[in-house]
């Protein structure tokens, strides 16, 4: 493995690990707030039990999420010192603001977890609102910083240096609206499917009470709320990429030649030159999607020399997986709610529950694939058309060691998280609510 590849693999592994916890950190507080609200409003122990269970899981996930977040922030410095030194003045503001937003989330979460019997019931519930808001803002800002790497703005270049820096312009870059909206919707969607999946699994094991039904419905309600926004933002993201990063679009769609009436190719096997075999071509559709007109000119891979193209096979396959899985998840959500509306018994059919149980991991795999498209699709640039990834990486020979060490640590942390989550779920009685069960046992 080359030095550069080891560095990219290390950063990629950390991001792919962290994104799971970060996404759950955005979505879970919303579900906890809804369940807790319904529990208080209706004086309903079942809803309170759902809130308690989700909170227990959230406490474990937050610990791992915070640590993996710290690892990423230090890794950014350690692996990409040139990028940090040159671009820090531009992207420092969004990262700084993200710290404050996450701090608000963290401190109010601590209040929610540990100050329950020091606050009144509704005030205690209200501490969740800043948690939801902090998570949302935090996600928005940090994805905006990433979007800047895809569509850099807010500076001028003079003798290789960045001058006339405007961090606010950098935040509000061209890629920001589509990328942030798409990621936040994806976080809600994946959380909804995951929570629904946990309760579906429980129902498959024969526990089909009100508790499980409501838990399943709660998760799928969040899915229903997020499914349309993710489709709309996905379409916007595609058109933004066509404008800001046409080579990335060409790689995702396997389009070799710049052309009007560009076809959309479904499936198939692609090689590094972008040639697809066995794919199904739909004439004009790519031009139509990109420009709302079949006559729209779409740039192909041949618009840049080969050394300026991303690894086409990885990008295309990750995109195909993301798109296919996204469509499958959308169909599942539609079928579930249709069944629940017209044939409630069908919504609890074994096959439906199996599909919902599988949807959580699939949704996260979809997010991971999406980030592979975003990051690998930008290569060979760390800042698109401004700084090459090769120029930004550290010269230290320890990068390979770091990759092996942290990969092993992430595997261990994943196992620990699973063990701890299972333990927490077992400790919580299924039918009775323990007093002060929202607080830690210590």
């Amino acid at each position: 493995m080359s030095h550069l590849l080891a560095g990219r693999a290390q950063m990629g592994t950390s991001l792919e690990f962290h994104i799971v916890f970060a996404s759950l950190g955005v979505g879970l507080p919303v579900l906890i707030a809804i369940a807790h609200f319904l529990g208080l409003r209706r004086d309903d122990q079942v809803w309170m039990r759902i809130a308690t269970r989700l909170t227990r899981a959230f406490t474990v996930l937050v610990v791992i999420g915070v640590i993996s977040g710290i690892v990423i922030s230090v890794e950014l410095t350690v692996l990409w010192p040139t990028f940090v030194a040159r671009a820090g003045s531009i992207i420092g503001l969004p990262f700084s603001l993200e710290s404050y937003a996450f701090f608000i989330e963290a401190i109010f979460l601590a209040l929610y977890l540990f100050a329950r019997d020091r606050l009144g019931p509704w005030l205690h519930w209200a501490t969740l609102l800043p948690v939801c808001l902090g998570a949302l803002v935090s996600a928005w800002i940090v994805v905006a910083a990433n979007a800047w790497m895809n569509a850099p703005t807010g500076f001028k270049r003079e003798d290789g240096r960045f001058v006339d820096i405007s961090p606010l312009h950098a935040i509000f870059n061209a890629a920001m609206p589509a990328e942030t909206f798409h990621m936040i919707a994806a976080a809600y969607l994946a959380t909804g499917f995951s929570v629904a999946g946990v309760y579906a699994l429980s129902m498959l094991r024969g526990h089909c009470g009100t508790y499980e039904r409501r838990g399943l419905g709660l998760g799928m309600a969040l899915v229903a709320a997020a499914i349309v926004p993710i489709g709309v933002s996905g379409d916007n993201a595609g058109r933004m990429i066509a404008q800001a990063q046409p080579v990335k679009l060409a790689a995702t769609e396997g389009l070799v030649h710049t052309q009007r009436h560009a076809p959309l190719i479904l499936g198939g096997l692609i090689d590094q030159n972008g040639n697809t075999r066995y794919g199904i071509q739909i004439p004009d559709l790519l031009s139509l999607l990109v420009g709302r007109d079949p006559n729209t000119l779409v740039k192909g891979l041949d618009s840049v020399p080969p050394q300026q193209r991303p690894p086409v096979v990885v990008v295309r396959n990750a995109f195909s997986f993301m798109a296919a899985a996204g469509v499958a998840l959308g169909i599942l959500a539609g079928v579930y709610w249709l069944a629940r509306w017209r044939r409630p018994r069908l919504a609890e059919h074994r096959l439906m529950l199996l599909a919902v149980a599988a949807s959580g991991p699939l949704a996260f795999a979809t997010i991971e694939a999406g980030w592979i498209v975003t990051e690998v699709g930008r290569q060979p640039w760390i800042i698109y058309h401004v700084m090459r990834t090769q120029a930004a990486i550290t010269g230290s020979p320890l990068v390979g060691v770091m990759f092996v060490l942290f990969s092993a640590l992430y595997v261990a942390l994943t196992l620990i998280t699973v063990v701890a989550l299972r333990s927490e779920m077992r400790l919580l009685p299924r039918r009775t609510l323990a007093p002060h069960s929202l607080t830690n046992r210590h």
């Binding site: 406490t59 474990v60 937050v62 610990v63 791992i64 915070v66 640590i67 993996s68 710290i70 690892v71 922030s73 230090v74 890794e75 410095t77 350690v78 692996l79 010192p81 990028f83 940090v84 030194a85 040159r86 671009a87 820090g88 003045s89 420092g92 503001l93 990262f95 700084s96 993200e98 710290s99 404050y100 701090f103 963290a106 401190i107 601590a110 209040l111 100050a115 019997d117 020091r118 001058v163 820096i165 405007s166 961090p167 550290t394 010269g395 230290s396 320890l398 060691v401 770091m402 942290f406 640590l409 261990a412 942390l413 620990i416 998280t417 063990v419 701890a420 333990s423 830690n440 210590h442």
Partner: protein, 333 residues
Amino acid sequence: MVRAAFLVLWVYLALFVVLSGGDFGVGLWVGVTSLGSSRRRLADAAMAYFSPVWEMHGLFLIFFLTGLLFAFPTALGLLGGSLIALLIVALATLVLRAGFYVLLAHGPQRVRHRSRIGFGVSSCACAIAFGLTGAAPASGDIARASLASAYYTSAVALTAIPLALAASAHLGAVGIWNHTLHRDQHAAGWYRRAAAGAGVASLIAGAAFTAAIALAATGTRDHFASTSGAALLTGAIMVTGAVLFAILGHARTALLLTTGGYATGLIAGAFVQLPYLVYPTLTLSAAASPQPVLEDFLITAFIGAPLVILTVAAWHALSLRPSASETALRPPR
């Protein structure tokens, strides 16, 4: 303006050192008290203090790093490139520690006790790794974007290790003592004595570390006789006062003096090293972002920092107060 930005950053770093250092110290005490079964109550008392504050304190490192990225990106790039080995170890120990924490706080009963030893060891390793990393920029061993291997056997590194451990143990013990004061008299007494002992060890290690820095950084040696040097001495006096108040049994005063003393010492120590951000490679002005960016940084900090500090103070005041259930359980006087 450059110095104002520098001060804001070091306030964040001081908060990380004091709060996370305290957390590492709590881990150390959890490990120590878990070695004998007779001390299980003491370990429980340490964990009870630790749990509520766990997840916020690491954020101050992120505040510091993002601030450094914003205001002094060149310094961050230089430190990231040169301290990679130390930072890898620090991160690995931090990840391991988080894993042990999750197991002992949320894992199955059968692994909880064993995880306490691992949590203690990884907490000590964290304190040492961060101590060594923090001391390196002042050692004079960073040159041409790399850290000289001589650093690891230098007086600065060898004195930074006991200082990091003793200071963490001191901060942790004072915190647990305050938390257990109205909950468990036996544990409170034990941690009061632990705080006094660790405080004395920290003062000795701190004096040795300061001497090692003065010998290594010859270009800034004279600065110890300046206002910053006086502030450094004030920090040491505050920590000494904290030890005395621990012996006398004044928990809150000892807590204030301990946290204030270490924070003052750290910030003053950084100012003693000025104009160098990384001695002797990089000066503060050479590392700073352009003026308009620094203005943005300060605006952000002046809105955000008071909010953060007040919220943390309010949270700690709230967490030290017994809850309604604990008050109900307390026997009548």
